[in-house]
Amino acid sequence: MRLLTHNMLSSKIKGVSNGFPLRIEVEKVIEKQVELNPDFLKNIFPKVDWKALVEAGRTMGFAELPEEADLLMLDSSEFLSKFHHALLELHLEEGALVCPETGRKFPVNKGIPNMLLHEDEV
């Protein structure tokens, strides 16, 4: 699972009012290189929750994202490549996602988060 996906996920357990961002517990991170597409990054940037991405990156061992970011920075190729790397190249392979309100763990195996809810959580 990429951090892009992590940035979009939110815990929807019954009664939880803010399930975002899910905390990451890391057992294994893998990196997969993909081609950088500036247009995609510019297009997705406004939808990314920057704080959550910075925090997630750090948890995954990548601490090079600036704390704050704005649209102007997208003109810098150095910024773009860090953004690209954090968003699309770091994968949580094994570990868990943790609901920020309830502490409920969603296990991640072979890169796939198990988001299935128990009946009393729906």
Binding site: M8, G111, I112, V122
Partner: protein, 290 residues
């Protein structure tokens, strides 16, 4: 009819390791799913600017539909309830990220972040109640509600569906409209028994030029590669812009039947509404007056 997989077992049981492998190694299925996905992507009508979008593939299975999204340059996140199907997707090294999840529980995605969604041959599964706690209407509501929230404004969702009957199609469509979607059904090759395919084309946000439901293929009698014709199925249905006055909305010809009515009445009672008692007249066919 009994050969519908939906009526055999719940999806996470039906699509076990063996079925998942069988499904994904059939060249016929691969070809059909690719075609359906191409068409769904076309109906999504994404801006023609070459920029990759972030899309959802709901009921992504082993990734056959997602592969079409990849080939067209898009990023996608797939959700499926069958671990076996997702395992095959991993084997096939699909590009999209995968989630194990039940769409009937609602999508665990935050608001406004997704550029579009497709779902190929999956949503009809929600019409079944596989557990005693399952109420199809509520599961459809949870699903469409969560989908509506996570799509960005003006984004579309296209579902290729195999409803078992009119009532299922109505139920799916109505749930989508209740969630705030506008749109309708596009039927490709309506005259062909074999090639007839239905797509639910839904749009988030207020109706505009771009929310008009596109035309189906082969509406003028062209039936694709298949030459069989069937008499009953000869029209493209384009209903249910939710901003249209109620009265004009089509209801099914046959009506819903007594069983449906009794269930509905029971539901209303549970909600505390006053409902006339059930008698032998309940849900009886009325003679048309004129």
């Amino acid at each position: 009819m009994s050969s519908r997989p939906e009526s055999l077992a719940p999806p996470e049981i039906f699509y076990d390791d063996a079925e998942a492998r069988k499904y994904t190694s059939s060249s016929r299925i691969i070809q059909i799913q690719a075609k359906l996905s191409e068409r769904a992507l076309e109906l999504l009508a994404l801006p023609d600017d070459g920029i990759p979008r972030l899309l959802l593939d709901i009921g992504c299975g082993s990734g056959l539909s997602g592969e079409t999204l990849t080939e067209n340059g898009h990023l996608w996140v797939g959700v499926d309830i069958s671990q076996s199907m997702l395992d095959i997707a991993l084997d096939r090294q699909v590009e999209g990220d995968l989630l194990l999840g039940d769409m009937g529980q609602g999508l665990a995605i935050r608001p406004g972040v997704v550029d579009g969604a497709i779902s190929i041959s999956a949503v009809q599964w929600l019409c079944n109640a596989d557990k005693s706690s399952h109420e199809p209407r509520l599961r459809l509501k949870a699903f469409f509600g969560s989908l509506h929230r996570c799509l960005s404004r003006g984004a579309r969702a296209v579902f290729q569906v195999y409803p078992e009957n009119l009532a299922q199609r109505e139920l799916i469509l109505r749930s989508a409209m209740h969630a705030g979607f506008a749109g309708g059904v596009v039927v490709d090759y309506p005259h062909s028994t074999k090639n007839r395919k239905e797509y639910l084309v839904l749009t988030c946000g207020p109706p505009s030029l771009s929310t008009a439901t596109p035309k189906g293929k082969g509406e003028d009698g062209e039936s694709g590669s298949d030459e069989e014709f069937s008499d009953e199925e000869n029209q493209t249905i384009r209903t249910s812009d939710r901003h249209r006055p109620r009265k004009k909305q089509k209801t099914t010809k046959k009506g819903k039947g007594r069983e449906w009515l009794l269930k509905k009445k029971e539901q209303m009672r549970r909600k505390g509404n006053t409902v006339p008692p059930d008698t032998k007249y309940t849900g009886r066919k009325r003679k048309s007056k004129f």
